[in-house]
């Protein structure tokens, strides 16, 4: 299992903060527990191979990661989402749900107080200790572990099935698959661009071959120059010079609004001398590319259009407006503002 590790002192502090938040939320929980009537349940196997007993009818879901919250909304299950995390900011309504803390160190008490009959977790941001603690108090936890885009789609289907949204899940995944297929057809015969995907700029962190991002890059007609077997390898600048990427790809959002801005990079020492920056080959893609949720397909399409505009020339004769067609906005050279940050193009 590849649960992310972090600085212990930060974790401890975050834990202390979430514990105090939990105390507040615990006060708001109903004083009397509901009648514990035995309900029909089915055993399902999650993406780590754990056996989980999920009630036949799931009424209260707690999501422990932004991508899972997005998926729940995309499946139309938002009424049943009882709580999510401090990081769940998309769609905007998700931020108004009760929070259980950050994904790395959610408050177990706050989760229990929300009385969920299903908790959704992911290996890419949650910790195994959280999952174990919830399982220990008898709360079923479905853990998703996507390493490819195909795995992501299968996971969405599975979550839809166990939450009683099979029909919505099937139509959404079919639609996403169709879009991926037409993308594949459009990119047929193109040489993949050699790219460096930058998850984080200081210290410089890229993606390893086993991550869903590396797979998403392939689907977008790109190939990561980093061949590491680690999921989130830390890179030195010299290594970047040695690998000679053609493009730098940044995930926009997070805390660094400058990341991927060509103007900012042209002023930054070292970066300004990198070939991709000199050539203007800097792509800033929506941060949905590092969130394995339905919106990730938007980001893949947008990236493909940016890297291989000529492949889509026939589809979009008016190439000037092409950049604006996608929710995941890009800029190479010209800075496009985030005006089209829209909703799902599918599923809702």
């Amino acid at each position: 299992m590849q649960f992310r590790k972090s600085c212990p002192s930060i974790l401890l502090l975050a834990l202390a903060l979430t514990l105090s938040a939990a105390a507040l939320q615990a006060n708001q929980a109903p004083a009397t527990p509901p009648a514990a009537a035995p309900r029909a349940s089915a055993q399902v196997t999650d993406e780590l191979g754990r056996k989980v007993n999920v009630p036949a009818v799931v009424r209260r879901i707690v999501s422990l990661a932004p991508n899972l919250t997005e998926t729940v909304y995309a499946l139309g299950l938002q009424e049943r989402l009882a709580g999510d995390t401090d990081y769940c900011d998309y769609p905007r309504e998700a931020a108004a749900k009760p929070h259980v803390g950050g994904p790395m160190s959610p408050s177990i008490e706050a989760i229990v107080a929300l009385q969920p009959d299903l908790v959704l977790a992911t290996t890419s941001i949650n910790r195994v200790e959280t999952v174990d603690a919830l399982a220990h108090v008898g709360i079923p936890v479905y853990v998703s572990d996507p390493h490819t885009v195909e795995g992501l789609l299968a996971g969405i289907r599975k979550i839809a099935d166990i939450t009683g949204a099979s029909a919505a899940g099937k139509s959404m995944v079919d639609d996403l698959q169709t879009r991926l297929d037409s993308l594949h057809a459009a990119l047929h015969g193109r040489t993949p661009s050699r790219v460096l995907f930058i998850v984080w700029s200081s210290p410089l962190i890229s993606v390893g071959q086993g991550t869903f991002i590396a797979d998403a890059l392939k689907l977008a007609g790109a190939e990561s120059v980093v061949k590491s077997t680690k999921n989130w390898p830390e890179m030195s600048m010299e290594e970047v010079v040695r690998l000679r990427p053609e493009y730098l790809i940044f995930a926009r959002g997070h805390d660094d609004p400058d990341a991927g801005s060509l103007e900012a990079l042209r002023k930054k020492p070292v970066y300004r001398d990198l070939k991709p920056v000199r050539d203007g080959h800097v792509v800033s893609v929506s941060d949905s590319i590092d969130r394995p949720a339905p919106r990730m397909i938007d980001a893949i399409e947008a990236l493909a259009h940016e890297l291989h505009p000529e492949a889509f020339a026939a589809l979009h004769p008016d190439s000037a407006t092409q950049q604006w067609d996608f929710p995941a906005l890009l800029y190479t050279g010209a800075y496009a503002t985030a005006s089209a940050k829209g909703g799902y193009s599918c599923g809702l």
């Binding site: 930060i10 502090l13 010299e238 040695r242 070292v270 970066y271």
Partner: protein
């Protein structure tokens, strides 16, 4: 103690400078991107002769954009921390004093982080805030470390360690609560790291940093013969006409400034200020007139060497250089502590 002659001073400094040169060449040669020694020499020659158009752009970037600035930063930080360590050891009359152990580095880091959150885009504000943090911490540790009006060695160390953990807790709190801050980057920086790129105009920036370094280290050097007397006994020094209070003030301000300078550019790199003055004392004796310049060059050697190792051992990724110095320095600290207790 062997008498110090100008000749001995110069020859010791020349030998150490020679070692530093070898380490710099070694460091310039090694890295993830491989360049042959011949190419490095050719690049340097072409640069010196102003034939920049003949240098391949990747060599230019790797040597002048990445490796040389990093080496220059290592020299500055190593020299600053070591001279600061030697200064604190004289000021507190305690050979275990070191900016990191005494919590001074944590104080400087707190100052730097506060200035980053209050005035993010003014680099010299960061150096100033780090200096204030360092000076405030050493003052607090000095007063906490006294017992019955006397500086007590173990109380002083405890006061330093407690201050460091208290300040680290405040730093963790700030890092968690300040929205929009780059957590991982800061965590890396706190461990001591030389990989951060210099700002847009590296030449001017380094010029300023080295200027401040020479002022502060020079100020400590002017007190060197007084420090020698103070170390044999404050009363005796006073009788011989040394202004003890003034000397201590100069050393206190300068050592805090050097610590603030080093921490503001590289985070808290531990144990250099302890290790280097000790090694120099063991080899060349404890005359401060020789110790200060020798320690400055020795510290530069230690950090450039440690950083080269930090870049190499887990290549292509990098360790923070603070991890390397702690690996070497912490055992030495324990050894010195046990020897004193006997």
């Amino acid at each position: 103690m062997r008498p110090l002659t100008p000749r001995r001073l110069l020859s010791v400094c020349a030998i150490l400078a020679g070692i530093l040169f070898v380490v710099v060449v070694f460091s310039l040669r090694l890295g993830a991107y491989s360049i042959s020694s011949r190419d490095i020499v050719m690049t340097l020659i072409n640069r010196v002769l102003g034939r920049t158009d003949q240098i391949p752009s990747e060599f230019n970037l790797v040597i002048f954009g990445l490796r040389l600035p990093r080496i220059a930063l290592g020299i500055l930080v190593g020299a600053s921390l070591s001279v600061a360590g030697a200064g604190f050891q004289a000021l507190l009359r305690n050979p275990l004093a070191d900016p990191y152990v005494l919590g001074v580095s944590s104080g400087a880091a707190l100052g730097a982080i506060l200035s980053l959150s209050l005035a993010p885009h003014s680099p010299l504000a960061m150096q100033g805030a780090a200096f204030l943090g360092a000076a405030g911490t050493i003052a607090a540790v000095y007063f906490l470390g006294r017992r019955g009006g006397q500086l007590d060695s173990s109380t002083l160390l405890l006061a330093g360690i407690i201050s460091a953990s208290f300040l680290s807790a405040i730093i963790s709190f700030l890092m968690t609560t300040l929205a929009g801050r780059d957590l991982r980057g800061m965590a890396f920086w706190l461990m001591g790291d030389l990989s951060s790129a210099p700002p847009a105009d590296p030449g001017k920036w380094f010029g300023w940093l080295f200027f401040v370094f020479f002022i502060a280290a020079g100020a400590i050097y002017t007190t060197a013969s007084d420090l020698n007397l103070i170390l044999t006994g404050e009363e005796e020094a006073r009788h011989l006409g040394v202004h003890v209070g003034r000397v201590k003030l100069v050393v206190y301000v300068s050592a805090s400034l050097l610590t603030g300078l080093a921490v503001s550019v590289s985070g808290s790199i531990g144990y250099v200020g302890l290790l280097v003055p000790h090694v120099i004392r063991m080899i060349f004796g404890s005359d401060y007139r020789l110790l200060i310049p020798a320690t400055a060059i020795g510290g530069a050697i230690a950090i450039v060497f440690a950083d080269t190792l930090a870049r190499m051992v887990v290549a292509p990724t990098e360790l923070p250089v603070g991890a390397m110095t702690a690996l070497a320095g912490a055992p030495v600290f324990i050894y010195l502590l046990r020897r004193r207790m006997r």
